[in-house]
Symmetry: C2
Subunit: 347 residues, 2 copies
């Protein structure tokens, strides 16, 4: 079965469910975005978690062996951690083969194809199981055209990677729907695709087709419909800014929300590189976004306050609202601030 | 044989030479960049040209059948034309098979792999010939790091695609060498790679590795060495700006030259979209380029005046020099203006 999106075949992305989440040997939650995102946004799809010796990250799910998970209904093990460069280290192999032996398919969002690891390819063949790479883009993606499409679009952008662009898009899409507005969350990354069941793994697309892939992800829609598109990277991230720019041009958003994290003061993994200011992200996003949508505007700021208690979080939100003159809200804490952010998106 | 670049294997890019240039059914020189670029910059590599019924573009080389070209020494037919989307139309097939039968290898810079066309794959097998895709990037490209590398770098950028970024980089690299300066032309596109014999097909790289690929293309070098890097696309081109940005960040140029074409007033192939001003390209390139090289500066403008006679071309160069306050020169016409541009690059 394949999923059609705007007449374009986005590939066979109907995944075996529910999942056992694999945490590898992760000790830094920043590298377990996929597992933590699935546990938060699709808890009904997650029966348990598993890992190898030395892992300290948890998704707060029951620890289960693949065999136990299968007996509890799981049908796939999702590799919920990422390494820089997207490789599968040797120390994960035993656990992954164990999952295939237990009857689980493997689902991966890593760059390296599961099939490219001989032990996995062999075990999958021996046990009649599937190796599913969510990051493999569909074939036949067209070159971008810049043509204005019907319907409304919102894109989440960021001061950096891994600070809430997917969460924010999911929360806004939920918030729109709760107000009775037709809306779709449009996933551009592997976790989002696992949650939504469809999408475009934008950073795996051949570079020439970046904007075209983003155009395919949010096709023409009804005039009152909203696509809420998951952003990627940052225009100020030296490794990934090209992806962010292609996604911005192809998404042609009417509205964008800047995602930022309290306390993040340098680019993740690059200690020497200071984070851009929120205002500079707004300015540069408008400057580039105007190319494909002259009406682009910033609706507000999504602030990740996970590191703060309730009171200081509220204080920081108030302070930033005053400083920037835009609505600021934490989409996890919600509350009236989030309602004001939704109001601004729809204004 | 493979070519090493900074310890990184850029693949087996030593091409069979000399070439017969294939012009397909091209009637618009803009789509025959590869053939025209090779004829201009590597005339010693080109024994003749060939095409199918209806083609009107010429590289001013003798028309030769593949059989005649082989007898005149040619060892490869280069597909010197591109279609939007990079496909090989049916009407070219007969000529390409004829070339394989005549003993020529096929060299292509198109997105579609030669092997993916059954008639070509079959004919290559039958006649013991190679199908070489210059656009296939090497494997194992790393994620960008943003680390500052030693040596000096110049990048050509543009107000649009297809207006002289490769020519400008070739001319500047030649000009540097003529002054006794150690310099390398670094090719980022298929024609450049065919001319240089090595390089990185940047627009074919998986998007996540864009900046990393650009970092690999211009490795650490001696303090007085210059890499002169061929730019791609434009930060204001809705389909390709992501490629341009990744190349800019990974190239971390000390100096850039903006390429523009007299009379080009809209983005190629997008009649509704006005070209950006040269000043806006300078400003945006500096803004982005500072992320990986705070010392980035614009050295001047490369103006493609091919559409003008000598006198009006000189007038336009003078006018633009006065308007922008930067040296302006046409790298094809050269002369004192080009010397001033080289001076500014090295200042």
């Amino acid at each position: 079965m394949s999923i059609q999106m705007g007449g374009f075949d986005l590939g066979a992305l109907v995944l075996p469910q529910p999942y056992l989440l694999f945490l590898g040997d992760a000790t830094n939650p920043g590298f377990a975005k996929t597992a933590l995102g699935l546990a938060d946004w699709a808890p009904h799809l997650c029966v348990g978690e598993y890992g190898v010796g030395g892992h300290t990250v948890t998704a707060d799910l029951p620890f289960m062996t693949p065999k136990d998970a299968y007996e509890n209904g799981a049908r796939a093990l999702v590799i919920g951690v990422a390494n820089a460069g997207g490789i599968i280290p040797d120390q994960w192999m035993g656990a992954l083969v164990e999952a295939l032996e237990a009857g689980l398919d493997l689902v991966s969002g890593m760059h390296a194809k599961l099939e490219s690891f001989p032990r996995l390819a062999r075990a999958a063949l021996d046990h009649g199981r599937q190796l599913i790479d969510v990051r493999t883009p569909p074939s036949g993606i067209p070159i971008g055209t810049g043509r204005k499409r019907s319907g409304n679009r919102l894109l989440t952008v960021g001061t950096d990677c891994a600070l809430g662009k997917k969460y924010t898009a999911l929360a806004i899409a939920e918030g729109f729907k709760a107000r009775g507005i037709a809306a779709d969350f449009r996933a551009s990354g592997q976790t989002g695709i696992m949650i939504a069941g469809a999408g475009m793994p934008i950073d795996s697309v051949v570079a020439d087709f970046l904007a075209g892939a983003a155009e395919v992800l949010s096709p023409d829609a009804a005039p009152d419909h909203w696509d809420v598109i998951e952003g990627q990277g940052s225009l100020f991230q030296p490794a990934y800014a090209g992806v962010s720019l292609g996604l911005l041009h192809g998404s042609q958003p009417d509205v964008f929300v800047v995602c930022h994290m309290v306390g993040r003061d340098h680019i993740l993994g690059m200690p020497g590189l200071a984070l851009p200011t929120i205002q500079s992200v707004i300015d540069l996003t408008v400057l580039h976004g105007r190319l494909t949508n002259p009406a682009i505007r910033c609706a507000g700021i999504s602030l990740n306050t996970a590191s703060l208690e309730e009171a200081p979080a509220a204080e920081e939100i108030d302070r930033l609202t005053g400083e920037l003159g835009y609505p600021v809200a934490d989409p996890i804490r919600r509350g009236p601030a989030f309602d004001r952010l939704l109001d601004a998106c729809l204004a």
